[in-house]
Amino acid sequence: MNKSNQSVKGIAEISLRVHDLDLMRRFYEQVIGLEVLRENKHKHSEGKAIFYAVGAGDENLALFEEKLIDWYTRDKSPQIDPKLTTLSHFAFSIALDDFESEKKRLEGIGIEIVHSGTSSWMHSRMFYFFDPEGNLIEFKSHDESVGRGEE
């Protein structure tokens, strides 16, 4: 069992920052055998992100092309040059019931929430913060009401 007061319920996603998306996608699809969940073209940037389903649950592994520019690739991370790590970010799943209280708890201890958002195709809401060495962490909750009726 987890600690009874543990809000984090699992690892939801690991995202890699990749240089050669074609090469990397061939490997993750053909060698590792992962199934594509979604390919996201970005509205305002060149580059693409591909999400893969891992296992039977909601877990994802994602490849984020390095030329994909979004808020998370700007100078938000104080210690890590985004070009100097292959880890884009990783996500923990938390219960929807805990979403707002976790956000408040973290802010209350001085953690800056650098971004909040929703994903209609994932039916989830999420917020992001940095660990002390600049790794980007996402807390993510499944929320069926997000994205319903869209797309």
Binding site: G10, I11, H19, E35, V54, G57, E59, T85
Partner: protein, 143 residues
């Protein structure tokens, strides 16, 4: 694709490379709220959740100055150039040997090992950009 046919059964572990192990340990224990599974001189493992087939889903922090564990396992990426230590994906115990042969047959350099304290068997191999991947399966007989 039928989900049951997938070789990869789940995200087993994400491991990151850290500069200040004590500070990072404190953050992940107290701020993120994870349960410590094992703390050693140069690493700490947190249990995130129950995982696939008896395995626990872990977050691990490895002291960046300690190279012993993955010294020869990641090709192409300098340890200074990424905070990602490795990613573990769960595979079934019955697929372990066939996966090893399949990966080797594709020309990948595969390093097989066991971790007694976690009761797991592991295959380490690099992806094309040098990230270190692990196929891991729980095996009660590994002690």
């Amino acid at each position: 694709m039928n989900k049951s046919n997938r070789r990869v059964k789940g995200l087993g572990e994400v491991s990151i490379r850290v500069k200040d192990l004590d500070a990072m340990h404190k953050f992940y224990e107290e701020v993120v709220g994870l349960e410590v599974l094992r703390r050693d001189e140069s690493f700490v493992f947190f249990k995130v959740a129950e995982g696939y087939g008896g395995h626990t889903q872990n977050l691990a922090l490895f002291d960046a100055t300690n190279r012993s564990f993955l010294e020869n396992k990641s090709l192409g990426i300098s340890p200074e150039a990424t905070t990602l230590h490795h990613i573990a994906l769960n595979v079934a115990l019955e697929d372990f040997e066939s996966e090893k042969m399949r990966l080797e047959g594709l020309g990948l350099k595969v390093n097989a090992t066991v971790h007694e304290w976690l009761h797991v068997r592991s295959l380490y191999f690099p992806d094309p950009e040098g990230n270190s991947l692990e196929f891991v399966c729980y095996d009660e007989t590994v002690r």
